[in-house]
Symmetry: D2
Subunit: 346 residues, 4 copies
């Protein structure tokens, strides 16, 4: 299978290059960018020297569609929508890593993204690519909207309890923390080394565009879920997301063991989700560079509240890795193909 | 005023040395440790070379009490209780930075600290040194139990709302994050550089000994507060604590502006608490090396929930700085004396 | 004494604010910037909230000169030269932290800085402010060119051996390492967090503008010194410079002890230089936030070569701290005034 | 091919697990440790949960030799020598990652390692596994002594110039920098997070045990090379080594271009060494997690000196990766097998 990557010079794009390089059935055919066209990709990313020898191509959807079977869009929100529509109409498979097709309601998109939404026609065509919980729809789709990094960690952490209706729907609070690579490669004061190192910040409080994405999926699983509280913190590290999730448990006779049983059952046949034993919690380094989502949890009888910890590598399971997992599902092959790696530790 | 520091070789002890070195009315008379007696303190801490020329003395409370007016105890919990009692009986002022006299109920101490509690007689004598909210008692005391680092950030962040009864008492969730210096100087796998760097961990979920300390103070302010949910995360940085606090607001007509007015009013005459403007939140670096506690908050009408962010330097306002602030209050001088410094930024 | 700071929004400027805030005899009268005029300085630097309440003023040298006794120039090279000349002609003391008046030869400046040099008249007026080795000239000057950060660490490390002619003049190699704050506050890919963290880079190999500055001073001490080899590395940390210096020793009967005796003798009356004992070397954290320069060294009989390690905080002894030390010398007061602080550790 | 790993609980051992997991022709048969026998390896390293399900076995060389074709020894120096001898006598291939068989002279070993050396008989049998420069001997050996991390970076950086006799033999200075994972997983004050973070240290000046290893190889290439100056610095990062190498060039008509031509020619058929273009230098992140050694260099006409920068991932090319590369060479297969990965960036 031949693939093109548009927006390859961002961190998600370059992570697609790293991961696809080891995929046995997918070949990168071309890489595209809106700037630096004609230069070697490795001039911008010297870690690729000698290993990847592509020049950066312009973004011409007609030409691209002639040459490849699938296009990964790793462009910013607001740009992807136009490209995705063109490519879809040219009958090439599209996996969009931006936020442009995640929200089904165009008004909600406009409110949270402050950009023009895609047309409803195409919003309806795009299938939300949360691999573990939408596998059947993904398998038959040719247009995937890849989930956001925070929603991936959060939704995988909450799915069993929300789907089973075991927590008070209005009590969900997600305190999320992310490494800085999630902010992309564009230099700014807010990602300037001396401002981030040895520092800890909260940002976009109650205003993050991933809030409606999480709410949309949770309410699709359980219509009683309405709003959530969601905060994002910037951690002085490059990769990794942790979602620490709090909720009040409905059933008073639940125990940590029973909830862990439920999680183990739900994720038994989902190879990239690993549930920790009672008393153990994952750290972000334990999924570093891999497509795993690791989950630990505990129920506190004193407060009647559960604490769930869900960690991913934001560039892998939170972006490029899940995109490839979705392609595997679309291709009908083992979803682990090219992704079944041990995390880099330490 | 002459001071001794017992347990000087820990990070809180050494921070007392740094801060007292600039205090105009306090002189360090001697420094004490249970190990390395007789060697220069600067052999263990070369940043003190030529500047501080004390030898480490043994811990002999009778001798110490003869020479000084006040003793800072920076020893671990479980050790401080014995020393504090001896020193108090020798009529020297005591400021204990450990957890040994913070919990009024010995059984609670035993449950959470897994150690033998101090006797009730002395637990009653010790005054809880949350400077901003217990100033009158501190001023007349000669035996201070200095608050924990997490409780300091949390309680200062919650005080106005809890004291005014404006939040649902059972809805308080604190997602706390700390730099690694809070774990002290003893080497262990959990503070090993390669295990912490580029990593993010949660620890002691629902089991941290600061939980009962926070609950005790909150319920003393508002008897309806019973239990809280409190989590602690280890951030790959050396100094700094952030408490991100969530709670449901009772009064539906509250706004962020009104709550900020309340906070500004409550903290008007408290020089080390700085309230940020609407829409702004503090980061830990903004209080680095200083005794400030900076607070930002926002009320979300969508969820009816407030998010409060409170940051401190765990070694200063969370330990040595607040101890000196308390000594200033005991001495009847401006509480800022020797502490009125600009944070180190960047 | 009243002071103005021009270019206050850079890291050196803001460090001047932090340090002068504790100076007993100097008052900051005004702070100036070419942008953001009229806003509060603390909007740009929230760590100053409530503590420093200056608005940013425009840069009008005539007005500034009327109000103050001394001006600190913390502007970039190329801009300082014009301002310094104007202020000097207006008979106000000037301490320039840029590189504009460090090189006596205008052609050398043009070659290494790629900018228009200051006029020879003013280059001759400016006194090079390496406090420890030019104290007499500084004391009688009203126009100081403050040394670069790398030259400060390097020259203090080399001075005794070069002045005594004990090393082969052509054998000097300096492998320098710096934290990222030295690159200033302007965001760029080269200081983007995700590109620096968990990474180690060399930069400007053989091309750093501090090379001719070091060579100029070394050859003024010992005319046989001609060229040096000097490399600079970017370390994933915010503050700190280490210069690891290598040179062949001339006298075959020298020992580490003898050389340490020489260093101790040379720096006996220089309070900010601390010489470590035989077998010990300083790390950058041991001078963090302070004006100290710590030096360790060892002579290797196997190779006939000496290794000298010299560390400073690049923003203090490498910039703002040394500037204030020079002002103290100009004022005829103890050079430690306002600077005699213990480093922040850990 | 079946492999056992002894000393698997150290960072080099665990990196062998990560890399061998993707090797198409090698299967890990068992993993061994002197402690924690009987527990799951993933209890000690939770990043392996569900992925690697080995229990830790005891170290019984007779039993191990029966089951496997090759044993990787990732034990500390001083322990490996005994095990390697036993395993070699049991006719199993041995790849020793410790320093025990690197130095041909037992006295030199004793001087620098302060331990009992292996017997001369076995020291002579062991082949030094610097893959790029000893390929023929490795191919026919069944007992490999894997090079140290610093020697690997240094020797690959120096080989062309030293072998061609183009630099003054007594002028070689190596200023090496390493991430902290090189110190292993044993907790100590010197690898305690709060002592390393935001800090920069030099250590073992002129005393590092890799000095005689480097000298031994250099003098085998060019007998005129006798002693070198070699320093090691601890960088606040987990992985990565940079060797910055300085030497005086003999031939006055050399240019950077000519030297780069030589390097490109020497390393043309060596797939893991990448030579940067004129004016470009590698950073450690550009080889992160990979088996690459990237080299950049420049000749300075002002000083007649060359500066060479060589970077590796200390746990891959500096340990586990090169060990597998050597196994590939012993097996007669493409040396890139299982190792041909793109570095993890950012």
């Amino acid at each position: 299978m031949k693939a093109a990557i548009i927006g390859v010079t961002g961190y998600s794009g370059i992570e697609l290059v790293r991961l696809l390089d080891q995929h046995p059935y997918v070949t990168i055919q071309s890489v595209h960018s809106s700037s630096q066209v004609g230069i070697l990709l490795s001039e911008s990313y010297p870690h690729l020297v000698d290993h990847i020898t592509f020049d950066l191509d312009e973004i011409n959807t007609a030409n691209i569609a002639k040459e490849v079977d699938v296009v990964f869009l790793a462009t910013p929100s607001g740009i992807a929508s136009k490209l995705a529509v063109e490519l879809h109409d040219l009958h090439v498979k599209v996996i969009d890593l931006s936020g442009d097709f995640r929200l089904q309601d165009p008004d909600t998109y406009e409110t949270w993204y402050k950009k023009t939404p895609a047309s409803t026609t195409y919003l309806e065509k795009a299938v939300y690519g949360l691999s573990e919980w939408n596998k059947e729809n993904i398998a038959t789709s040719d247009f995937i909207s890849n989930p956001g990094c925070y929603p991936t960690a959060t939704l995988l952490g909450l799915a069993p309890l929300v789907r089973e209706g075991l927590i008070e729907e209005s009590s969900i609070i997600i305190d999320a923390k992310s490494g800085v690579s999630g902010a992309g490669r564009n230099a700014s004061l807010s990602t300037h080394y001396a401002e981030i190192n040895e520092n800890l910040k909260i940002y976009k409080v109650n205003q993050h565009q991933h809030i409606p994405e999480i709410e949309q999926v949770l309410s699709s699983w359980n219509e009683k879920v309405n709003t959530i509280t969601f905060s994002t913190h910037l951690i002085p590290m490059t990769r990794g997301i942790m979602a620490t999730i709090y909720a009040n448990v409905k059933a008073p006779d639940l125990t940590t063991e029973k909830i862990l049983d439920l999680y183990n059952q739900c994720y038994e046949d989902k190879p990239f989700v690993r549930i920790r034993q009672n008393g153990e919690f994952p750290s972000t380094k334990e999924v570093y560079g891999s497509n795993y989502c690791d989950i630990g949890l505990t129920y506190d009888e004193r407060t009647g509240r559960i604490t769930i910890v869900s960690v991913i590598d934001n560039l892998v399971k939170g972006a490029a890795g899940q995109a490839i997992q979705n392609l595997n599902i679309m291709m009908g092959i083992d979803e682990r193909t090219g992704l079944h790696r041990i995390p880099v530790f330490p």
